[in-house]
Symmetry: C2
Subunit: 304 residues, 2 copies
């Protein structure tokens, strides 16, 4: 495994591996897993998925300052380079790209990639400028590494929707693969930010996955359930935690992220929907979601 | 010469040529000349410059709707496919990419690439959204053709500055080459829009190149000349045309496009400056410019 820190070096490494592994056959496939480090098993699942289809697996570790708001946790975002490298090595990663902020932004960027509409809601509404920072840095990483495919975790579902839209709109020749959320055995979605949680907060945070499971079950059981019903049920369920402060608890179409009216019957949505949560426990804001296709859910059979 | 109309086809053609021409040596270099068609000798000069360093020369012909304002000339922008193809053939172009609007924008793009600051002045101020349209479509063309180098005419000097900034900021692995303005023998800068001019307007439009020549001469002769002096001289000279309506007549640093105070002495600028004009003759808005390095201009020797 090569660990490279400069843009020139990672370009050189990827080019060399691409040449080596393209010999005697078709072109070698380069897969990129962009991360902010402090890697956990969710990230590892992306690397494992990458290895299934990519001949060369590159991961980037970069805590991107321009996607953090002024009062967010950029400075205290957890970092552990040695542990990250050990995890990447264990997963058989070929190249780890760890640039400095100065490498990525030698001067404040004048250029931004912005995706409209999809970024107006959910985390985009709570974190103004966040997704501009994400789409800009992902474009930079794509231009540096030139991957054929890139892997993102479905926990950041809005990020996945934004990146997919960007790739389509800008004709990037890259296959964007969304990988399922990885959870602890008790249901908590893995996140680098879980390290911020106290024991009490971590216990209370289980309300997120519990609410999502409940909603999926209710949609199966009650075919007439509306978006408004779901919003109420989410608020009521999350409200059972004494410390949870809801940022949003929403149901929308996916990946369009279009609002659903309160009276809209969820089962009538032809495509997918997302039930998306952002909730603060103490100082820590966690997100979680469930994406499913209501029209293809099993119907509960009512026995006579 | 291959003429291709779909994105998939141009990707396929470039890939194939790249493989063919890379055999037995280093990687073949792909050069892109993005144009809006109605090609003239200015465009031909870009193709000739491309042939000097590119093994494969691709030109795109696409009148990009999103860089035109609602009251601009998108609909009536001149088009002549047969003549364009004959010129490209004559210049030894390998691939002409002529997509339709539906190919490039199957749905309205939600994604835009924006370059701040550089786009606030000159044409950016007169044509809101214009440069967002330019940087977005150029990003798309770059992602489709994947060139190693791209060639732009210096007549659109602000466009060159914006594209160069974008390429740096987004780490695009592309060498952007600005090529000198090509002029008619009487000084008129070549432009597809010159076809709009009546004989009288064309005659009057010579005031643009005449003004620029005069300014360069004056900076040589008068070392103490200020930006304010130059603005006055430009307005007075262009004012000699009875029909000229000035949009802007400016001097700025280049490529930063930073404003110069009226009292700033031009000779004191360490880098380059641009004298930039946008002037309407009848319904036709023409632009022209001169870029030079004042500190390296010859000094007029005063003989005793």
């Amino acid at each position: 495994m090569k660990v490279v820190r400069s843009i020139a070096e990672v370009r050189q490494q990827v080019k060399q591996l691409r040449q080596q592994r393209s010999q005697g056959g078709g072109d070698a496939v380069v897969g990129l897993v962009p991360t902010m480090g402090f890697l956990h098993d969710g990230h590892a699942s992306l690397m494992r998925r990458a290895k299934q289809t990519s001949d060369i697996v590159v991961i980037s570790i970069f805590v991107n300052p321009i996607q953090f708001g002024p009062n967010e946790d950029f400075e205290r975002y957890p970092r552990d380079e040695q542990r990250d490298l050990a995890l990447a090595e264990r997963e058989g990663v070929d190249v780890v790209f760890m640039p400095t902020v100065e490498d990525m932004y030698p001067a404040p960027t004048k250029t931004h990639v912005t995706v409209a509409e999809l970024t107006d809601t959910l985390c985009g509404a709570s974190r103004p400028g966040h997704f501009d920072g994400v789409s800009t840095v992902v474009t930079k990483l794509f231009n540096i590494v030139k991957p054929d495919e890139a892997f993102f975790g479905a926990k950041d579902a809005q990020q996945v929707a934004v990146i997919k839209q960007m790739v389509i709109d800008l004709n990037m020749d890259i296959n964007v693969v969304a990988c399922p959320i990885v959870r602890e055995v008790d249901g908590l979605a893995l996140s680098s930010r879980n390290v911020y949680l106290s024991a009490e907060e971590r216990e209370q945070a289980l309300v997120l996955s519990r609410s999502l499971e409940m909603i999926k079950q209710r949609v199966i059981e009650q075919p007439e359930l509306t978006a408004g019903d779901i919003r109420s049920m989410l608020r009521s369920e999350i409200g059972t935690s004494s410390i949870a402060i809801i940022d949003y608890a929403e149901i929308m179409t996916f990946p369009q992220l279009e609002a659903m009216e309160d009276r809209a019957v969820v089962r009538d949505v032809a495509g997918e929907v997302i039930v998306a949560l952002a909730v603060k426990f103490g100082k820590t804001r966690l997100i979680d979601n469930a994406i499913f296709s209501p029209s293809t859910l099993p119907q509960t059979v009512v026995h006579a």
